[in-house]
Amino acid sequence: MSKLPYEVQTEPVLPLSVLSPEGEIVNPDLMPALTDDQLKEIMYRMVFTRTWDERAVNLGRQGRLGFYAPVSGQEASMVGSEYALNKDDFVCPGYRDMPQIVWHGLPLYQAFLYSRGHQHGGQIPEGVNVLMPQIIIGAQILHATGVAMAFKKRNEKRVAITYTGDGGSSEGDFYEGLNFAGVFKLPVIYCVQNNGYAITTPFEKQTAALSIAHKAVAAGIKGVQVDGMDVLAVIKAVSDAAERGRNGEGATLIELLTYRFRPHSMADDTSKYRTKEEEAEWSLKDPLTRFAKFLEKKGLWSDEDTARVKEEAKAAVNENIKKAEATEKMTVSGLIDSMFESTPQYLEEQKADFQ
C-alpha cells in the first residue's frame, strides 16, 4: 500500500527582481513606469534615510534620542513601498517603520519626539494618514485590516498598508489579520520585511515554511516574495497590490527579502549571532549602491548628488532634533487629561496631587 503524499506546497518561490546587483534591468516587463524626476526622488529619499539612520544612532549614543530601531539596509523596502502609495492610503507601521510614516507626512521632529518618549510624537497631523509605530508585534496587522474594512464600507479607493518583520509572521494576529482580509476581500497590503533575524533568532527558527509569502495560501489571499534590496521591484509589487486593492480584488501579502546592516536595536550585539561573511555578502546587495549604479548609467545621479543629499539630511536632522529638544515638557496633569474625551471626577481628583 502506498503512503499518502502529505504535501501541500513544496515549490520554493522565486523572489521578484527588476534590478541586478550591478544595476542592470533584468526584468524589463516588471519595470514600474517612473519619470526621471521620480527616479531621482526615490534615490534622494533612500540616501536621506540612510544618513538620518546613521545620525540617529549617534544621537542615541549621545542620549539625545531614546528607543531607536536602526533601518540601514532596508531603505528600498521601506522607502520604495511607501513611494508606491497615494497620500490618502493609510500606513500602520511596526516599531522599525519610522521612515515610511515620515515620508508619508509625519514631521521628522515628531519622529524624534516619539523616540524620546514624548506624547507629541504620536500627535499625527491632520491629513497625514498614519498610525504611531506599534510596539506589540502583530497588533498593527489587525488595525490595518480594520482601516481597510472602513475604506471598503465607504467605497473609498484607498488601501491600508502594514509592516511587520519575519518574526512577526509567527504571531497569531498576523494570521488572523490575513484571514479576515481574505474573507472580507479587503484593500490591504501586508508587508513582511524579512531581514533574516528577529533580534537573535534566525528565520529558520520562526517557521519551517519555504517562505513567508507561502503563508498567503492559508488565508486565501495573494502572496509574493520580492527582493527587498531592489527598490524598483518593491515599488512594482506594492503598486500592483495597491491597484488590486483599489479595484476590489482584495488583499496581498508581500515578503520583502532584506537585511539590516545594523543591530536590531541600540541594545543588541550582532557579533553574537551573525558572521562577518554574511554581513559582507549582504553589503554587496546594498539597495543604495545598486540603485545608484542604475541611475548613474542613465546620467541621473553622481557621487556629488549623494554628497549633497547627505549634507541636506544632516542639516535636517540637526534642525529637527533641536526642535524636538525645544518642545515643551509634558506634565502629569496633561497626561491625565489625555485619557478620555472629558476627564472623569476620579482623575480630576488625582490631578490635584500633581499641580
Binding site: Q123, I124, L131, I136, L142, G146, V147, D173, F180, Q345
Partner: protein, 325 residues
C-alpha cells in the same frame, strides 16, 4: 413604552443607535443572520443589512483589532465577544490598543468602541462562559466598565456607551437576559455612565452591588426588613468611573456597608470600592466594610455553582456581622 427583558432591551439599544447613526456597526461571531447565540442581535441584520450587522470569522483578537482600525476611521463599532472567558484572546486589542489610542496619539485618534460580552453564573454553562472578569477591566486605564442589572438601565447605558467617544467594556449577565420584564421606552434614551442608582432606601446598612448581585442584595434586604433591619441597596451600574459620591452619601446615613460581588474575593471591584470608602468616609463608619464574594478558586464546575455563588443568606450573614461589630 414596551415590556422588555434585558436581552430585548439590549437589542433595542443597538437598533435605535443603528438607526440614529450610520457609523454604528454591529459585528462578532454569529451576530448576523442568526442574531447571536442569545439572540441579542436578532433581526438587526434583516433591518439594517449585512453591511451594518455582520458575522466574522472565529477570532476574538481580530474582532477587537478590526474594531480599533475602524474606530480610528470614524466608525462606531459595537463588537461582541461571544463569552466572557474568550476576552483573553482579545485582551491586547481591547485593553491595550483600544484603551490607549487617545493617550498614545495625544488625542489625534480615539476608540469609540463598545465591547459587549455576556458573563455571569447560575446558568450551568460550560467552562469559561461565566467568569466575572470585570476586575481585569477596571485595572485598565482608558476603558470604561458597565454592568447593568435590569432592562431599563441596560438599554440606556448601552445607548450611552455607543455614543461615548472612548472605549467601553459592557458586561451582560447571562442570568438576567430573560429574568424579568420591565417598562422600557421604545425610543432612544440614555442612562449616564458613572452614576449609581439607589434601588432600595434604608438607614441601617448600605449594600453595594452590581449585576446579578443587585437582585441577591435586594432579596437579602427584603428578608432583613422582616427583622427590622433597613438596608439601603446601591446598584453601581458603572464600575469605572465609580460613583463614589453616591456610596459615601449612603454611608454617611447608614454608617455601615458591605460590598457584594459575584467575582472571587480578590478579583472584581469590591477591594477598590472599599479602598475608596476608606479614603473618603472612614469617620462615618461604625464597622469595617465587609465583602461577600465567590471564594478564590477557579470558577466552579456547573454542579457546584449554586453553593459557590453568593446568595441572600451570605449577604444577611455579612450584614449581621457589621451590625453586631
Amino acid at each position: 413604552m414596551a415590556q422588555m427583558n434585558m436581552k430585548e432591551a439590549i437589542r433595542d439599544a443597538m437598533r435605535v443607535e443603528l438607526k440614529n447613526d450610520p457609523n454604528v456597526l454591529v459585528f462578532g461571531e454569529d451576530v448576523g443572520k442568526v442574531g447571536g447565540v442569545f439572540r441579542a442581535t436578532e433581526g438587526l441584520q434583516g433591518e439594517f443589512g449585512e453591511d451594518r450587522v455582520f458575522d466574522t470569522p472565529l477570532a476574538e483578537s481580530a474582532i477587537a483589532g478590526m474594531a480599533v482600525g475602524m474606530g480610528i476611521q470614524g466608525f462606531r463599532p459595537v463588537a461582541e465577544i461571544q463569552f466572557v472567558g474568550f476576552i483573553y484572546e482579545a485582551l491586547d486589542q481591547m485593553f491595550i490598543q483600544a484603551a490607549r489610542m487617545r493617550y498614545r496619539s495625544g488625542g489625534r485618534y480615539n476608540s469609540p468602541i463598545v465591547f459587549r460580552t455576556p458573563f455571569g453564573g447560575g446558568v450551568k454553562a460550560a467552562e469559561l462562559h461565566t467568569d466575572s472578569l470585570e476586575g481585569l477591566a477596571i485595572q485598565t486605564p482608558g476603558i470604561k466598565v458597565i454592568v447593568p442589572s435590569n432592562p431599563y438601565d441596560a438599554k440606556g447605558l448601552l445607548v450611552s456607551a455607543i455614543r461615548d467617544n472612548d472605549p467601553v467594556f459592557f458586561m451582560e449577565h447571562l442570568n438576567l437576559y430573560h429574568a424579568f420584564r420591565q417598562d422600557v421606552p421604545e425610543e432612544a434614551y440614555t442612562v449616564p455612565i458613572g452614576k449609581a442608582n439607589v434601588v432600595r432606601e434604608g438607614s441601617d446598612v448600605t449594600i453595594i452591588a452590581y449585576g446579578m448581585m443587585v437582585h441577591t442584595a435586594v432579596k437579602a434586604a427584603e428578608e432583613l426588613e422582616k427583622s427590622g433591619v433597613k438596608a439601603e441597596v446601591i446598584d453601581l451600574r458603572t464600575l469605572l468611573p465609580l460613583d463614589i459620591d453616591t456610596i459615601v452619601a449612603s454611608i454617611q446615613k447608614t454608617n455601615r456597608a458591605i460590598v457584594v460581588q459575584e467575582a472571587q474575593k480578590t478579583s472584581g471591584a469590591a477591594a477598590e470600592i472599599i479602598a475608596q470608602i476608606n479614603e473618603k468616609a472612614i469617620l462615618h463608619l461604625e464597622a469595617p466594610v465587609l465583602r461577600v464574594a465567590g471564594p478564590d478558586t477557579v470558577y466552579p464546575f456547573a454542579q457546584v455553582e449554586d453553593a459557590w455563588l453568593p446568595n441572600p443568606a451570605r449577604v444577611i450573614a455579612a450584614v449581621n456581622k457589621v451590625l453586631e461589630f
